[in-house]
Structures are given as structure tokens and as C-alpha cells.
Amino acid sequence: MKIVVCIKHVPDTETKIVIVDDGKSINSNGVKYILNPYDEYAVEEALQIKEANEESEVVAISVGDDSTQSSIRSALAMGVDRGTLLKTGNFALVDPFSVAKILAEEIKLESPDIILTGKMSIDAYGSQVPGLIAELLELPVVNLARDIVLSEGKATVKRDIEGGSETLITTLPAVISAEKGLNNPRYPALKGIMQAKKKPLEIKEINLDETDVEIIELTYPKQKPAGRIVGNSADAAVELVKLLRQEAKVI
């Protein structure tokens, strides 16, 4: 079985983001980048499928710049067999549709049995790529998987819906995006980290056409207003509840 995992190289959530002067991109200097956490679930799921199915191969594919190699290496360290970097000039300006087109072209060449992705990237929050890839490849897509079981060329996928969960069955190949809780991603073993450096990582230069969607402006979130002390007597509790209900509207 061949499994393709699409991954993205994203800034760590704990890192401090600085918007550069053009107002459209961030200063990547001093920013720690990581493998997108939702994609980690996809990688883990791919590895579990591989471990359950003899003679399987897991390939990680990513669109990005040279620095993206480190996230691909992270996936290789976890146990992915090989990686492909689809290298573009200015990755920060690539829109989701362009990413999906680039990925879909490469996936066609691999012709995998299953394509796994994270449900979204934690930097752009687009949630578009899984669906777009599936459309471009004319494959079924199931988003937000919490459980995946493969049998006889089909995948049974559980996903959460409002107030409960639903179970779907899809033919393969299919694109399935991972929700938090699908599994517990493994830490890379130290040996895996060493081996990852020797695993194949192919770099393909991609010439990007003009994108249809472009970023016009990035802004910082509004600063949280300072806290307010309502009082310190028993009466203050009543006042506090009133404010929480009427003003903050949180209860």
C-alpha cells in the first residue's frame, strides 16, 4: 500500500510573529518552524497503516522553500520512507488553490492508495487544501477524521458532528484529513533522527503561475483590554455575575 501525506512547514504557536514592512508577510528570522501539528496526526496515521500492511510505503510531500526540508525531515524521523519538496520562490504568497494544484500534480505521479492531510494548517487556517486536492484528482474526500479503518479497498471513517459522531465509508483512493484525537503522534526515536538524514528527499523546482488570491494585509490581533477589579466584598460577586452575563456575555 502506498500512502501519501501532505504536510506543511508552519511557525510554532509559541513563537512571536513580527509582520514585516510590506504588511503582507512575516519576518521569519528567529521564528521557530515546526511540522504542522494536524499533519503530525496524518503522518502518525500513515505510519500505523504502514505497520499494519506489509510492503507499504509512506511518502511525505510538501510545498515550500528550502527551510521546509526540516519539517520533511521531522516526518522522515518519525518513520516516513521518503520525502518530496515542491520548491517555490516565494512560498509566503502561495494561495491554497495553487498549493493544491502543485500537490495534485505530484500525487498523480505517485498514484497512492490513500492521501492523508491535516484538517488545516495552524498558520493560515484555510482548511481548503484537502478538498481542493480531492477535486483536482477527482477523488472522494472525508474531512476531520477521528478514526480510520481500512479493509478490502475501502476506508471506514468516523468523524465528529454536532451532538454526536457519524461513520462514513469511502472507496479508495481517497483524501482524508485528520482531526486532533485521531491518534497520538509518536516522538521521533533518536535513531530515526539519524536515519532521517540518509533517507531520500527529492527537491523539485516549481514554477508558479500568477496566483488568483493574494494577501493584501496582515494585522496583529487586538490587544486584550486590561482586567477590571469589581470589588472585594461579598456584594462584588453579585456585581461580577451581572457583568459577566450582561457585559461580557460569557454566561
Partner: protein, 581 residues
């Protein structure tokens, strides 16, 4: 071979060390991976570990085993990764960021003194039988040397071993005390005297009758690690579980302690660095007098001091692992005496491994103490982890050889190396005249050369006064060992500063180096003064002081240590944590 103690006489410009600025990519990646595990998986469970939760500890050990953290420097044929001492130190210092002193003690015991007797002195059958299960984390190891009447005086053992009538077993009787991993251990290395005289090491395992564990000790800290007595009650150990030869136990017992010290040095070094961020995070948030307490100079100076101490400990740790690795690399794999040669390399660096242990454990002590002070009253409550850190830190200055025993090793080994001419100290001493003025384009380097002169002159004074008996003069060994420790710090820090040329941290490393060398130089002159006043007549004291003052006058060097420390603090504020290399 690069001999242990050679930092004492190697000309400063030729003294090269491994520095964190020159770690390999693998080294850096290991550190990241282990840090993630320490902070995401261990740290949130640190309070549960304190409840002496055996199944939690075992579960974490199995995870560490899967990741390969239990056998970083153990050969692959026994289930380890077969990497160098530097990689092992990096892994353990990153684990220390978990803040769980208890788990670190369990870990250090298991991967250090419990394992190395079997690796170094065991036969191939013993290694194959016991080491792989320890690597996987499925078996926990232990090391049982101490007895109620035999602590630092470890050979004064009352545990007896008698060969059974059929010649198949040794029957052990006696009590071992303060055994780390006591109630959990599946395997133990235990020491006893055969026929009342021949001190011998044995391997215990769970299957053996007569191995009993006493109740848990009620300790000040590291409450989540198990410490019990072992009661050997007619314990039957098969003869094939003798480690090495009958009567060779002293070497087994003591030589693995060098490795134990190296590992403990790395653990405490990592923990000391981790303290800085924890205290700083609090200081940034805490407001008094309408401003962050991190604006206050007295607190800033504490942080600067913590950074300098941790920088010194880190530098000396990797200077030592780098020197060991460079020597070990040259050994021929598969040589029948491979492990004996390896052990000899480590033993030859006894001064360095003892310095690592003393320095790093004392830096951790300082950082925890000052870190708690930054938190003020909150630091004194159990709501914040500093209370636990404060309790846990204390043991590090006691076990793996108390810091007093380690200072004796530093002084005693120096004396031995001087007298046996293992390093040409006498030759170096003979070249010193009445004038201590030397030239060097860098004034920090001039200070180090002056400190070296003070060290050698003082060693000479001590040898002339006491001869071999110096090793029993503990009032003098303490200040002398402090001189050696301070001198190793200065040379290593200077070598790191030189090696940092071209690094993005270069200018702040320069400031830290100058602050460290300044502080250590003052310590050396104080310690030497104490020795001189005790053993020299007043004319000689005056002569020494004149040589020293003339050299200082000629140097004309007064670095502004306040500005240096302000720079160090500002750099910390920018980075938010200890981070160089």
C-alpha cells in the same frame, strides 16, 4: 592521547575544546526531540511522579526506551545507539528540562552506575542477558554499594559472600543502604566480600531468592524516586553472575563512579539552565511598585549570575565529553580490551569528571536558591514548583561521591599526576621565576596565565610543605581544589570564547567570558591566600603578594563587571531563556 588534567599546562592558545557552538546537526536535533518529550510528556506529570508512582515511572521509561534515550552511549549490539559521551550528555541535560528531579535520579542511576559495571566489567553473556532489557526500559537497574557503616568509606563493607558447598552459588548476607530504585529494581549490581576479604561485584536479578527490600526512606526531596535498603538474607547468586574476577570489586565500584559523575554533572547542568527561564517567566509577569520586578537591578544581577554559572557548567561539561570522545574514538572497536581501555580513558579524566559534578551541582544549587528568591513568598509555597526544586537539588551535592569527596579526588589526583609526572607539572613549575608578569594581546588571557602561575606556585608550596602527605591535609585540599575548579572554568570559558568567532552569539559570549574569568580569578587569589597564610612564613607570603601585585599592576585591567552583567541580563530578556550555541 589527550591526558586528563592537561588543561593545567596546555598553553592557552593551544587549548581547544568542544563547544556547543560546534555541535553537529544530529546533536542539535537530538536535543530538540528530547526537549519536546521532557516538556510535553514528563513535565505535566512531575507532580504525579512525586507520589512514588511506579507504574507511571515504568511507563515513561518504556517510552524513553523506545525513543532510544536509555542507551545513547551503549553499543548497538546491546540495544543502544552506540553514540558518544557528548550525545549522551546532550540527551540527559535536555531531559533535565522536565523539572522532575525524581525521574532524573531514577534515570541517571539506571543508565549510569547500574549499567556500566555490566558493560565494562561483565562478560559477553552477562551483557547480552541484562543490557538489552535495560535499554528497552522494561527492566530497571540499581547499584548497591553503600552500607549503614560504609558510606564514603565504601570498602569498609560488612556484606559477606560464601561459596555454596556445590560450588554453584555465592550466598550473600548483609545490608545495603540508600539504594536508588530500591523497591522497583529488577536488576542490581551488589558488592560483598568473599571470605571476608575479597571485595567482589555480583549481578542480582528478580529471580534470586533472599534478595529483600526494606521500607522506603522518607527523604527531603526526590520523593518520586525509590530509595530503600537491600537485605541480603542468604541470597543465592549463581557463580556466573560474578562481575569480573573475585576480589576485583573495588575497581568495578569506583571506576563506574567517574561515569556517574559525568552524567550527574550533565543532569544538574541542564536543570540549572532550566531554572533560569522558570524564574524569568515569573519575574516578567510579577509587578511591584507599578512595574515588572525584572526592571530591578538586584534581580537583574541574580539572573546575570545564573547565566554566568550555567555557561561555565555547560562549557566545562562539553569540554570534558569532547576530550573523552576524541580519545575513545581512537580505540579499536572489537579489541578484546576495548572496555578496559575505555574505562582507563574515563579514569584518566578523574579531575575533569569530579569538576563537572561539583561545579554543575553547585551552580544548580545557586540557581534554584536565587530562582526561589525571585519568586519571593510564592517561591516558598507548594503552589510553585520551586519548593520541589529546592528539596530535589540538595541530594546532588551528596551522592555519586559527596562534593567533599570529589574535592579530595581533584586534589589527590593532581598530586599524583604531578609526582608521577603524568603531566609535566614540575617542569612547568620550574619555569616560574619571581616575576609573574607575562604578555598576551588579550587581557583575559593574561589573567588566566597569571592564575596558572598562582596555581602551580601554590601546588609547589604544598608539595614542599607536605610531600605525599598533602592528600590527607583536607584543610588545604579544599582551597586548592577550588583553585583547580576555578582554573578549569577559566580556561574552558576562554577556549569557548575563542571558538565562538563568527557565531551570532559572539559578543555576548565575550561578555560572559570576561565576567566569568574575573570572578574566578578573584576566587583563585582568595583561595591561594588562605593556603599561603597557613603554610608559608611572612617573608614568603610578602614575596608571593608582591609578584601577584606587580603582575596585576602591569596588566592594568579593570573590567566593569556591572556593565557586563547588565549586558548579560539584557541578552537574556531578549531571548527569554538560557540559549547559546
Amino acid at each position: 592521547m589527550n591526558r586528563g588534567g592537561s588543561f593545567l599546562i596546555t598553553p592557552l592558545d593551544e587549548y581547544k575544546i568542544l563547544t556547543p557552538e560546534h555541535f553537529t546537526e544530529d546533536h542539535r536535533d537530538f536535543r530538540e526531540a528530547v526537549l519536546d518529550f521532557a516538556q510535553e510528556t514528563i513535565k505535566p506529570r512531575a507532580n504525579d511522579i512525586e507520589k512514588l508512582d511506579e507504574s507511571l515511572t515504568r511507563n515513561l521509561f518504556e517510552q524513553m526506551g523506545e525513543m532510544g534515550m536509555l542507551g545513547v552511549d551503549i553499543p548497538e549490539e546491546f540495544g543502544g545507539l552506540g553514540l558518544d559521551k557528548t550525545a549522551a550528555a546532550l540527551v540527559v541535560e535536555a531531559l533535565a528540562y522536565s523539572g522532575s528531579g525524581s525521574l532524573l535520579v531514577t534515570y541517571s542511576d539506571h543508565t549510569g552506575i547500574a549499567l556500566f559495571p555490566i558493560l565494562w566489567y561483565g562478560n559477553q553473556a552477562q551483557r547480552k542477558k541484562y543490557i538489552p532489557e535495560m535499554m528497552s526500559g522494561k527492566s530497571l537497574g540499581s547499584y548497591a554499594l553503600t552500607e549503614p557503616g560504609a558510606g564514603s568509606d565504601a570498602l569498609n563493607s560488612n556484606t559477606s559472600a560464601v561459596l555454596s558447598d556445590d560450588g554453584k552459588y555465592y550466598i550473600l548476607n548483609g545490608t545495603k543502604q540508600f539504594i536508588t530504585n530500591g523497591s522497583w529494581a529488577d536488576i542490581g549490581v551488589v558488592f560483598a566480600k568473599v571470605d571476608g576479604t575479597k571485595f567482589t561485584a555480583f549481578i542480582l536479578d528478580r529471580t534470586m531468592e533472599g534478595w529483600k527490600r526494606g521500607p522506603e526512606e522518607h527523604k527531603i526531596g526526590i520523593k518520586g524516586s525509590s530509595t530503600t535498603t537491600y537485605i541480603m538474607d542468604n541470597c543465592k547468586i549463581p557463580v556466573e553472575n560474578v562481575i569480573g574476577k573475585v576480589g576485583s570489586g573495588a575497581g568495578v565500584a569506583f571506576n563506574v563512579l567517574y561515569i556517574g559523575r559525568l552524567k550527574l554533572g550533565a543532569v544538574t547542568m541542564g536543570a540549572g539552565k532550566a531554572m533560569i527561564k522558570e524564574a524569568l517567566d515569573y519575574a516578567k509577569e510579577r509587578k511591584q511598585f507599578a512595574q515588572s520586578i525584572s526592571n530591578f537591578g538586584m534581580l537583574q544581577s541574580k539572573f546575570a549570575e545564573m547565566i554566568v554559572g550555567s555557561f561555565e557548567a555547560e562549557t566545562v561539561t562539553y569540554a570534558t565529553t569532547g576530550a573523552l570522545d576524541a580519545n575513545i574514538e581512537k580505540l579499536a572497536d572489537g579489541h578484546p580490551d576495548y572496555y578496559i581501555q575505555l574505562q582507563q580513558i574515563v579514569e584518566d579524566h578523574a579531575i575533569e569528571t569530579s569538576i563537572n559534578k561539583v561545579l554543575s551541582s553547585e551552580v544548580l544549587f545557586h540557581n534554584v536558591d536565587e530562582g526561589l528568591q525571585v519568586l519571593g513568598g510564592y517561591g516558598y509555597t507548594e503552589e510553585y514548583p520551586f519548593a520541589r526544586y529546592y528539596r530535589d537539588e540538595r541530594i546532588n551535592r551528596i551522592f555519586e561521591g559527596t562534593n567533599e569527596i570529589n574535592r579530595l579526588i581533584i586534589g589527590g589526583t593532581m598530586l599524583k599526576k604531578a609526582i608521577m609526572e603524568e603531566i609535566p607539572l614540575r617542569d612547568a613549575i620550574s619555569k616560574i621565576g619571581d616575576s609573574w608578569v607575562q604578555q598576551h594581546e588579550n587581557k583575559d588571557a593574561m589573567r588566566i596565565d597569571l592564575a596558572r602561575t598562582i596555581l602551580l606556585v601554590t601546588l609547589n608550596d604544598l608539595i614542599l610543605k607536605y610531600g605525599q602527605d598533602f592528600k590527607s591535609r583536607q584543610w588545604m585540599i579544599k582551597p586548592f581544589a577550588d583553585i583547580v575548579i576555578a582554573f578549569q572554568v577559566m580556561t574552558a570559558v576562554y577556549a569557548r570564547k575563542v571558538a565562538a568567532d563568527g557565531s551570532s552569539s559572539k559578543s555576548i559570549i565575550d561578555d560572559i567570558a570576561t565576567a566569568s574569568i574575573d570572578k574566578r580569578f578573584i576566587e583563585i587569589t582568595n583561595s591561594a591566600d588562605i593556603i599561603w597564610r597557613h603554610i608559608l612564613c611572612s617573608d614568603d607570603i610578602k614575596k608571593r603578594k608582591k609578584s601577584l601585585n606587580d603582575a596585576l599592576d602591569a596588566m592594568d585591567y579593570f573590567p566593569d563587571v556591572v556593565t557586563l552583567r547588565q549586558n548579560i541580563f539584557n541578552d537574556l530578556m531578549e531571548k527569554g531563556e538560557y540559549n547559546f550555541g
